[in-house]
Amino acid sequence: MSDSQIIVGLEIGTSKVCAVVGEVSGNQVANIIGLGQSKSRGVRKGEIVDASVVEEDVRNAIVEAEHMADVEIQSVFLGVTGSHMRGFNNTGVHPVVSADREINDADVQDVIKNAKAVNLPSDHSVVHVIRQHFSVDGQDGILNPEGMLGVKMEVDVHVVSGRYNRLQNPIRLVNGLHLQVENIAFNGLASALATLSTEQKELGTLVIDLGAGSTEYTIYSGGVIKHTGVLAVGGDHVSNDLAYGLKVPLGRAEQLKVDNGSAVIDAELNDPIIDLSTDNIIPGKKINLNHLQMIMSMRLREIFELIENDIKQAGYIDYLRAGVVLCGGGARTPYITKLAGEVFKLPAAIGRSSTVSGIKNALDEPEFSTSIGLIKFGAFQTQTIPNQGGFGRALRKQFVSLFGVRK
């Protein structure tokens, strides 16, 4: 039986479309064998606004990845995001009915089914239902209740949902390129899967993916996902603010951000003036670095504060014993960890997709964490199928047919 499996993660991001090809064998560890990228021209805030150019961009990325990995890509795990997506927790309840009160597999399935029956707005659909913990007769934190004795069993789950139509857009686009979408995953979840170690997931970590169009965040604690969220604000906003404030074209603002950006204000700048007089786009222009840093730091600080507020409100700020991990292209901003440290009052670090091996420079770039995480997500899914008994039978074909029956 084949033990090695090719899994492709595809992120249709706001600044780049990125396809990563991973080889997964036996366990979940992926070896990255291909990477394809294309500048993204038809995405805003993580969502497609111009399908025809996105189609071209996705195709380019796929072709490049195919070329590098020397495989023909037929299916992908697709990342999704957008302001329409919601994360919330839900509880399922189930009475244990067997005469001996011993919890069996059927009970576990039933309680999960109950938890999945969430009340969504009619235009929303479920993207993930992620199991957190079981409790039996009020005893919390049980990972596997099978075989325990009890009367009432509960399960907590984290649900991620989104607007059906808006989730469907990228799926339809990808299908249009003759690519099967194996499954979709929330970008924030994928980034967390790529960057967190087992220990970080256990201790409690906040992962923030600072993208160009949107910022996703995910909290892992006790080994399970506690909270997810998305803000439709990202690096594009930083650049747009700079373009507006420094009165330069957006493209130039983007470049200034990358070349001279900083997440904090450096009070002791020797020479705060950048002379752009040799610049043939805007001759004679001078830029005040103090202004640049002011504009940037205010925007980035605001992003962190909005996230912090949300987490506080959800009551998870004290769960983050392993601090904050930053990824996405925005994590390249100098002093971004310093700013995050100040806002969250926690240690912050740049996330590395260290839990997979392969092409070295792909893994070192924070903007690939989503795509790499999608491979991990795919590996999880293709490895085990509930109620099928063991890993060996869990080949992708079965997985697909499992998903094929829905309507």
Binding site: S38, E55, Q132, Q168, G245, N288
Partner: protein
């Protein structure tokens, strides 16, 4: 005089390159083959005399080509969907011929191929790809176009302009390279058709061709070479290896199936055939080899057509068997287990789309070999090929090396124009933070 039910074969040329090639093929004129030239560009159609033409997207309106604009090309093609669907219906074999990298050909090829496939035809794509110097954007677009075409066709034969250039040494001109490329291309398509419709000594039928494309969506190459010598083997082998589509022999090494077809007069030497086959087998070990021969008594030349079908690089074929299973516990076990990510249940679902795998075509039965094709003298053919390749070289030249410019981005509030505003607690977060906080830049 038709005693047999001739298979209906259509050449469909799309975009400027496709039109040029189909027009050339039409001028050479194969019995029973109908040629159609389709473009969004009036100028390229105006040069057609033998093939039937259609200006795509008349209702849009257009007439000056797509200028590389995929979206525009798509709109033009969609607007003529009905005509195209009719064009490929009740046809047995459709050749979809295009140059990849521009707008019309790139976009229309897979579209037409898909329609043809839906209509039940066997679909052969013939695609020319750009020179590297035309820029990576164009080359990527071409690679994407091939990918799409491959997904919608039974097989795609790929002709690389870049490879032609390499084979002819650095000295050649753009015009010469295109001319050479077009000649190789037309000869190959003709060779393939000949193989299918000439009366056979060792018959290679359409069924053989079809079954050699075991998996659909395969990529391959065809090449056709000629010799006027009686002891042709070494001459033929030399020409085969010098042919751009053999990729210096790499094409053989990556082949799963090779179809070798000899078309010559009645004193075709079996010993020489053997030599050719042996040399080819040496280059390509462990492949299916199909050999055919036909007698085209009017032709004093020996022509050898070689169809190479490449190994599919699909994911399944890559999987390696690794018996030692490793169940070392890892994070999936002590953390949220894999199944936990799975939504399941009732109605509130995302639809992942249908599995577009098996668009099963009905059986394709091929009639016995057809009567000999109409012949033209080799000289005539030569001059036709030349003439076609030479049409308006200047325009081509200008077009081919034009640099594509990135549009300049101008000051933008418009970055978020097309998207939903990001509003949080009544505050419009699209506005710069420093402005909302009332900071003045002094």
């Amino acid at each position: 005089m038709k005693e047999y039910d001739l298979p209906v074969i259509r050449f469909i040329g799309l975009g400027e390159t496709g039109v040029k090639l189909v027009e050339t093929l039409a001028m050479i004129g194969l019995n029973g083959v109908e040629s159609y030239s389709l473009d969004t560009d009036n100028r390229s159609l105006s040069r057609c005399h033998q093939s039937k033409t259609l200006l795509l997207g008349k209702s849009i309106p257009c007439g000056l080509g797509a200028g590389g604009d995929i979206a525009f090309a798509r709109a033009a093609i969609e607007s003529d969907r009905d005509y195209l669907a009719k064009l490929v219906s009740e046809v047995d074999l459709v050749f979809v011929i295009a140059g990849m990298g521009g707008g019309t050909g790139t976009e229309a090829a897979s579209f037409v191929a898909r329609l043809a496939k839906e209509a039940g035809a066997l679909v052969v794509g013939v695609a020319a790809t750009p020179f590297n110097c035309e820029g990576s954007r164009r080359c990527n677009k071409a690679a994407g176009g091939i990918r799409d075409l491959k997904q919608s066709s039974d097989v795609v034969f790929h002709f690389s302009n870049e490879e032609v250039m390499h084979m002819s040494g650095g000295e050649t001109t753009l015009n010469m390279a295109l001319e050479t490329a077009n000649r190789y291309l037309c000869e190959s398509v003709l060779g393939l058709c000949r193989m299918l419709i000439e009366p056979g000594l060792l018959n290679v039928s359409f069924g053989d061709l079809k079954s050699s494309m075991k998996e659909k969506n395969s990529l391959g190459s065809i090449l056709c070479v000629e010799s006027d010598r009686v002891d042709f083997a070494s001459d033929i082998m030399e020409k085969i290896l010098a042919h751009p589509s053999s990729l210096n022999g790499k094409a053989f090494r990556e082949a799963t199936t090779l179809l070798v077809h000899f078309s010559g007069n009645d004193n075709l030497s079996l010993a020489e055939i053997n030599k050719v086959i042996e040399s080819i087998s040496l280059c390509a070990s462990a492949v299916d080899l199909i050999v055919g021969a036909t007698d085209s008594s009017k032709n004093s030349l020996l022509q050898v057509t070689l169809v190479i079908v490449q190994k599919s690089k699909t994911i399944s074929s890559l999987m390696e068997t690794n018996e030692s299973k490793d169940f070392t516990p890892n994070e999936a076990h002590n953390l949220s287990g894999p199944e936990n990510f799975m939504p399941s249940g009732d109605n509130s679902y995302v639809n992942l789309g249908v599995k577009s795998k098996s668009a099963n075509r009905g059986g394709f039965a091929f009639a016995p070999p057809a009567p000999a094709l109409e012949t033209i003298s080799p000289e005539m053919k030569e001059s036709l090929l030349e003439a076609a390749a030479n049409q308006e070289p200047n325009r081509k030249k200008r077009k081919g090396i034009k640099q594509e410019m990135l549009p300049l981005e101008i000051i933008s509030k418009g970055r978020f124009e097309k998207s939903e505003p990001t509003v949080h607690k009544g505050e419009d977060l699209d506005q710069p933070t420093y402005i909302r906080r009332g900071i003045l830049l002094n």
